[in-house]
Assembly symmetry: D2
Homo-oligomer: 390 residues x 4
């Protein structure tokens, strides 16, 4: 089913990511009564673990949905039709999110950024300062741009809001950073954090998350759009006893429960250090090949994925196709304005050194097989880095 050849498929897109064996087994547990006592215990444990992973003392709301559903949820709970949302716009997922916002009737404003760089905090602060009428009701930022491997400065955005005394809600997408890179919902003053299950959380796709701040909760009770499925309030009310207002996605939640345990057993600081190390090894390989890491700002490098700029005149999707057929590895394509210009290596989730090494070998062999101009030996650079004491 999943791939036709012998051996393990290398799933090195930046999500969905490889499932840990324990998560896979948990998915196959029998479904149980979602209104019984065993279920309540499981739910309460999951919600408690989620708080630790989101770094919040407040609630985390879980939806049976994709991450894009969680974007919609964040907005329809807190904003009203026509409200202006300022998007830090430096990647495809920011663009996608803007479409969702427009789709539900919000006014979208883009703070254009260079896709190869994080959103400029000075420019952001200027725009907020200009907004004397406080028309901007929310500021939306993607923490880790899955399309580019560029990390935006969430704490900086909070500071910009604070310095300008702007009351816009700060909404942050951590779909591809949560569980891979340090993220602090509460400390960084985020009002709604939006996540999905299928990347750093090492669970299959199908669960979306919202973590609201007290300010966001207050907004949701006084404002918001007509809503039912996404409505935070009944979910939080039922969650208090360990239940949901609808039938929850039992088996995905079995998987999530195990995946959260794995993260917390390893320890979040260690999880983040592991990802940072794998990412650095990847960048060393890329430079060793004489290729460019798409992200230009070393402070903004992603620990979750690395987008690689393809030499001019060479099609990254031909490379990806050859690598899939010859080496049974899936890499990420270029999206939006970088389609045909980059490919992406996912290195997040249930990953270790040798999985990454195999991945980088697959890229190096693909470059050779496709006659893409490069220096062979990028893998050696990565190995030299990884072989040093961790």
């Amino acid at each position: 089913m999943s791939n036709s050849g012998p051996g393990r498929h290398f799933l090195q897109i930046p999500g969905p990511t490889n499932l840990p064996e324990r998560v896979k087994r948990a998915l196959s547990r029998p479904t149980i009564d979602h209104r019984g006592p065993d279920w309540a215990r499981l739910t309460l444990r999951i919600l408690e673990q989620l708080k630790q992973v989101f770094q919040t003392s407040g609630p985390v709301i879980v939806y049976p949905s994709s991450g894009s559903g969680a974007w919609e949820a964040a907005m329809v709970n807190t904003l009203s039709a026509g409200d202006r949302v300022l998007f830090g716009s430096n990647g495809q997922f920011s663009s996608n999110w803007q479409k969702v916002a427009a789709g539900v009737g919000l006014t979208v404003e883009e703070l254009q950024g260079d896709w190869r760089c994080p959103i400029d905090m000075a420019a952001l602060e200027n725009r907020l300062a200009e907004d004397r009428g406080r028309e901007i009701r929310a500021l939306a930022l993607v923490h880790n741009e899955t399309s580019t491997g560029v990390v935006n400065d969430v704490a900086g955005a909070r500071a910009a809001l604070d310095r300008t005394g702007h009351d816009a809600l700060l909404m942050v997408d951590v779909v591809s950073s949560l569980g891979a890179m340090a993220y602090k919902h509460e400390e960084w003053g985020v009002d709604v954090t939006i996540a999905g299950s299928q990347k750093g959380l090492m669970t299959p796709p199908g669960l979306g998350f919202n973590a609201p701040s007290p300010k966001a909760l207050a907004a949701s009770s006084s404002a918001g759009m007509p809503r039912s499925y996404w409505n935070w309030e009944p979910v939080m009310a039922f969650n208090r006893d360990g239940f949901y207002p609808y039938t929850p996605a039992t088996n995905l939640l079995y998987g999530l429960d195990v995946a959260l345990s794995l993260l917390l057993e390893e320890g979040l600081p260690q999880v983040f250090a592991r990802h940072a190390r794998l990412a650095e090894a990847t960048r060393r390989a890329v430079r060793g090949w004489g290729l460019d890491v798409f992200c230009r700002d070393a402070k903004a490098y992603s620990s979750a994925l690395t987008a690689v700029t393809m030499p001019a005149g060479y099609n990254p999707d031909v490379l990806r196709q050859v690598i899939l057929e010859r080496f049974d590895m899936s890499l990420g394509t270029g999206l939006g304005q970088v389609k045909g210009k980059v490919f992406r290596i996912g290195h997040l989730g249930d990953m270790n050194d040798l999985m990454l090494a195999g991945t980088l070998c697959g890229v190096e062999m693909g470059l050779a097989a496709c006659d893409v101009p490069h220096v062979s030996g990028g893998v050696s650079e990565a190995l030299a880095f990884l072989a040093k004491d961790p």
Copy 2:
């Protein structure tokens, strides 16, 4: 996790239902690239199988959502804010659906029905006929009321619309009938069929479905509410090539693929006959105990579940609790206006004679253990029926 005692838990709520072994194993497959060729093949096969199960030649849209999400999807795609929807109202799931409709800004009108009977088709026709201004934009009916075990007459509703020349969209919830009882989306002239994965489809909860008619599709392109996640159009567009506009719930779809194959391998007529037989055996047991089947109309008996009226003065939830603790079986509680008055026996999905027999034995022992007035031997009635040639 799923239950503390030895042996298999009897999950006899009317959904989520017992997962077939093959489905459980499919859930544990590795996640793959949702944009790769293997994924496209899987998606196209699932969509083709869904058409057969829904009995439609048109599209079936799959959401990562609960069934309640699919209710919302049906409405926001086809109706506009303030539009009037007439609900056949004879059970809790109709009530729940009405809340969803109100939540997204529609005007809800109830055609009140007796919860123990199907919606009266003459009364429905009268109401439609009265509606000369065609204010009713949609008629919403639950095919099989999961709270009562009463089946509404979908073909009759179509006929009522046709006879009155009413152009309201016919929306039908088949969450607990699809895969358990005959349902014909196209032949019965339904405009939007709404379903979920976790009952007759024998897949864990987490997938919602909409099957739109050409008329519903036309409505969705000219009307509808601000929408993004639920928007049919991009899903259908991506589905043409076997993809989704967001990351699909890969592992649940693995399970669905297998479950649909199981249904089609058994053959839908045989699947429905099996359910009808199990339901008849259950009713014979209930009557054998001297208790009442909650549904008063023999033509409206559900094949998916049987709600049983508790003798006055006895609490069905005490009975359920004892049965859970002593016999490790989950039964359905009474919902809404029948809370404290009925309990529900689910007999749909991956069920056979001996699973039902064990279930009925658990009920009979529970009645005895709780000193609920009853005639012992209801099980014998069921066995006598099942032992005859099928």
Copy 3:
């Protein structure tokens, strides 16, 4: 694969038995290095748990083998070619074991017993007393005869040996009693206990066990037959550090580890009480049908299975075939001298009340479907018993 129909197959043969869900999942873990540290930890934990289940402070040796292999192992380690072994002979598994003994070159002597009764301890003691030359080197007894549901008196056999001052080794087959009925290797003075994984131990077939006493170990170092695979010594030597002298059956051992944990978590006394209760319910059903429990001696009733005498002129295998085809349940056939005369109901392992209830319903319906003379309502007798407080 496992059965063609919908729903769960009822596997009610007296072994292999139904696997607990947790055991099934454990089987699917990745295989690991059988010479690495994780493996050693697992092995030592399993061996420790086995001691508790066998009720021994000595070693338990695990073979990749069937139970019949473990019979052979017990004998080739302790006896020499031509040695005389006295078999308590009251069932098919005793006969099978005798064939194994003869096959490896031992002299077999049968103490014939009535298959419907346990071996007569007085007759046994007489035979031992007569054996003044101490030609009998071993006394072999099946604790729970899987072919008949008759339990032999192991402590009685020990007493007979002691009273006659006979030094024969006492060898006991607990293949179908271990984990289902009280068994005390050490307290009862057994010299070699022989078991298999697939019955009360709730693990797939493929593992055989020997638990030797100090006396048996002494015999094995001074006597025994040419042996390699079955040789206890290297296994015990490697086991000290958590390893095996050959590649162990890693995945079956994963399952065994979980199954042993389940037994010990439930508590052995509770496990045995549960089995006794299910067995009593079964016998009440049998008598309720007006049929005979094959075992004539109430003190010798098996908690693991019940053999039922078929009314004269009726073929139990026709009944079993109908029950398999119509009700998807496997029952045990009559073996050896009771072929065509009995069928067997297994009620051991991962079993609970409702699984048994479904099982008994299947038998009652089968009797009806095959027009076997019986009183309907045996199930009701079982339910009346089970419904009382446990």
Copy 4:
């Protein structure tokens, strides 16, 4: 359980090997009645597939046992106590097999060979020619020495027997070659082929195999030792209808069934070519590091594993330990006379290019981390080879 760190453990010992995902799932199927019709169908299909994999038109006998059990089985079925067996002796598994032979009472004669080379066929022919009294009753050869990665010439041994007109039985151990390298039981005139499940057959350990020739079958009916468990005859008799004379290892056989299908779907020639390619890449890496492949004879290179000679003064087991702890990979230790001198890289079974690449990267990093003198860049040599068109 299987490893403490995140990501997939690299199991690169020469068996047990990595289980394919489909095999892992098959292991978790419910156990069924080993005397029922579904079981018979499964058994007959497995036996048919085994014939193809062993390249025989005769029977293949499956034991619940380790591979060492299958050695014993081959001998006790065909030889008599004291019979002389000539062993081609050039590795640890030949030595182990000799111990088994001695343990069961055979006379062992070693044809000593250099462990770094295949058994010399001229020397073998000389010894056979000298044996005018035909005292040698069997010639035993390990096809692929798992301890050294040296392949012995089975067809050459047959030719030596034929040229000398010697009637000794030819017994060949293919435990680590079957399913990885071309092997032709019938065409090469082998009398008993001995195998195990856990290497090229990609199934967990716990199943042993014997494939006898007509001559071996004839020997087994006229000679052989006292035997029961290993006795071919009853197994073959029961197998005719799809059954076994004991309870077979149901769940391992589920796995084997799937694994055989995977091999035959891929096609044996392609399977062997894949292994040969991975082996060649491994040797190029070894030479790239400036290390020696232990096998000196290029015609005798194993496709299943590569033993690497450690530079003098360096302990391969320290290297292995560091690689396990730092890179979560298991490699094979040196056995017997090469303990402390070599380590072994397994590259057989469910393997592909990137799994091998990750493996080789782990070795290269381990060499660096342990300061073992080597040239970095061996991985690059392997990649250059693999990147060329396959």
